[in-house]
């Protein structure tokens, strides 16, 4: 299923967009250190905390936008020449089609995070004093951010699967992103809004401990997947 989704995304600009996005977010911390930062890098501080505090908002914003646009695109390919109808007349389950798309975006998103880790790692090593736990810290952060982004991926796909008009799906996604930037991070419930979770960093969220948010993210992912499954049968009912 996954390879099939990969094949379907050919020539749509899906892969290049994620690649471009990955390069861009990877560059943000480097550009920040090169041109903007006025921080004294000779202090004994955790470079990752500094870099994330300064740049994570923008990096997360870029990635969530990427998720929304990617999700819209994957469903746009299905609906534009009626291919979805063909899929529905084949012996596969709608929810598997959805799940394969979810896996595809998740995997490619992991790639984006790795690029970011490289950017962050490079900036830390190049500009800051040596920080012994850096590799471990980076891996932990990447894993954490990946988990916290899963609900956003499911939600974006869910919206895209509901609306065949791509501009409506895209518009709702944008509104969701905007809402995420406006919501306070001081409150666990507000921080748990799926599009808001990717904005949280491991050290920077006051509202809840990291493992709480991991649980929240996992539960949200499962709940959204269940909603998707239910909605498939509901839509079949109304078709």
């Amino acid at each position: 299923m996954l390879t099939m989704e990969w094949k379907k995304s050919k020539r749509t600009g899906f892969i290049p967009s994620f690649l471009g996005g990955a390069l861009l977010t990877g560059l943000i911390p480097i550009l920040y250190m090169a041109f903007i930062s006025e921080i004294d890098t000779n202090l004994d501080i955790n470079p990752l905390h500094v870099l994330l505090d300064a740049n994570w908002q923008m990096m997360a914003m870029l990635k969530v936008s990427l998720i929304v646009v990617g999700a819209c695109l994957l469903y746009y390919v299905e609906s534009s020449d009626n291919a979805l109808q063909k899929m529905q007349s084949l012996p596969i389950k709608d929810e598997n089609l959805f799940f394969a798309k979810f896996l595809l975006i998740s995997l490619i998103y992991l790639g984006v995070l790795v690029m970011e880790a490289i950017g962050l790692g490079f900036s830390s090593v190049f500009w800051f004093l040596e920080y012994p736990d850096l590799p471990m810290e980076l891996v932990k952060n990447i894993g954490y951010m990946f988990m916290l982004s899963l609900p956003a991926i499911v939600l974006a796909l869910l919206i895209a699967s509901f609306f065949t008009n791509i501009w409506i799906a895209l518009g709702l996604g944008m509104i969701g992103i905007f809402l995420a930037t406006q919501l306070s991070n001081q409150n666990v419930i507000l921080a748990s809004f799926p599009f808001n979770l990717p904005f949280q960093t491991m050290h920077g969220t006051d509202a809840a401990a990291p493992d709480t948010l991991i649980w929240v993210a996992l539960i949200e992912t499962v709940v959204l997947l269940v909603i998707q499954k239910v909605s498939v049968s509901m839509r079949r009912y109304f078709r």
Partner: protein
């Protein structure tokens, strides 16, 4: 066919697209957090701004930084998809109209959508401010002349950005690229705005203007004041070049 007539035709095409509903939802989402966090509007010790000004300007900052540009990216996707979705563009190009005029007419629709979006934001602002006035027993409503003046300036300075979005959607065959690049171009505006060369980056004009207004209203806040030179010539030149190229390239790919 006159240009005005053509705009009417283009306007008809966005019927039942639910774009207005979408923009209305966006405008509501813009002001809802402002109502929830209304206490923050009264906390003005650091900036020295009047609470009613603060309430208005904070909302418009969010609007100009992300929601408005993102909404306009969606609107460009809409206009493009309506035309290419069922090959409507082929029909249009086969009719005796000048493609350049057609491109301009579509751009006019984009401007129309932008104006409506700003209008929605203003209307919902008055609803939100009215509610805030009732709840807090403090007059939060600003005079319409002031608000509409800000809105009008906001609309004008967004035109170069919109012409850039339009150029991208005309030139790029792959929709995700044009939408993606437009979006990506918006996100760093917050960085560029603070540099000395903000005027060469049209994506930050709306945000810049609102921020400058913030600086004017807040006594203890110093923001870069607006300098009309070389900004205005650069902005006009940018918009004209973008529009000229979009007229030139419009329908090129389909007529290959």
């Amino acid at each position: 066919m006159s240009f005005f007539h053509l705009i009417q035709v283009e306007h008809k095409k966005i019927r039942r697209s639910r774009i207005l509903l979408l923009l209305l939802i966006a405008a509501i989402v813009l002001w809802l957090p402002a109502i929830f966090n209304i206490d923050l509007s009264f906390d003005t010790r650091a900036t020295g701004i009047a609470p009613e000004d603060n309430f208005f300007i904070q909302g418009f900052l969010g609007f100009s930084w992300f929601l408005f540009p993102a909404g306009m990216v969606v609107a460009t996707v809409l206009i493009r998809q309506l035309e290419r979705g069922n090959k409507g563009i082929l029909k249009m190009l086969a009719l005796p109209i000048n493609p350049a005029l057609l491109s301009l007419a579509k751009f006019a629709v984009l401007l129309f959508i932008a104006a409506i979006f700003i209008l929605f934001a203003v209307i919902i602002y008055y609803v939100a401010a009215g509610y805030g006035t009732m709840v807090n027993d403090y007059h939060l409503l600003l005079s319409p002349t002031f608000v509409f003046k800000v809105a009008a300036v906001f609309f004008l300075v967004s035109i170069p950005m919109l012409s850039f979005f339009w150029l991208l959607s005309v030139c790029m065959q792959t929709m995700i690229f044009s939408a993606g690049i437009s979006l990506v171009s918006v996100i760093p505006s917050i960085l560029i705005m603070n540099s000395d060369y903000w005027f060469i980056y049209p994506m930050c004009y709306p945000f810049f203007v609102v921020t400058a207004k913030y600086g004017q209203l807040a006594a203890h806040l110093s923001t870069t004041p607006i300098s009309y030179l070389p900004w205005i010539p650069v902005a006009v030149g940018f918009a004209v070049i973008c529009l000229a190229f979009s007229c030139l390239f419009f329908g090129k790919a389909e007529r290959r």
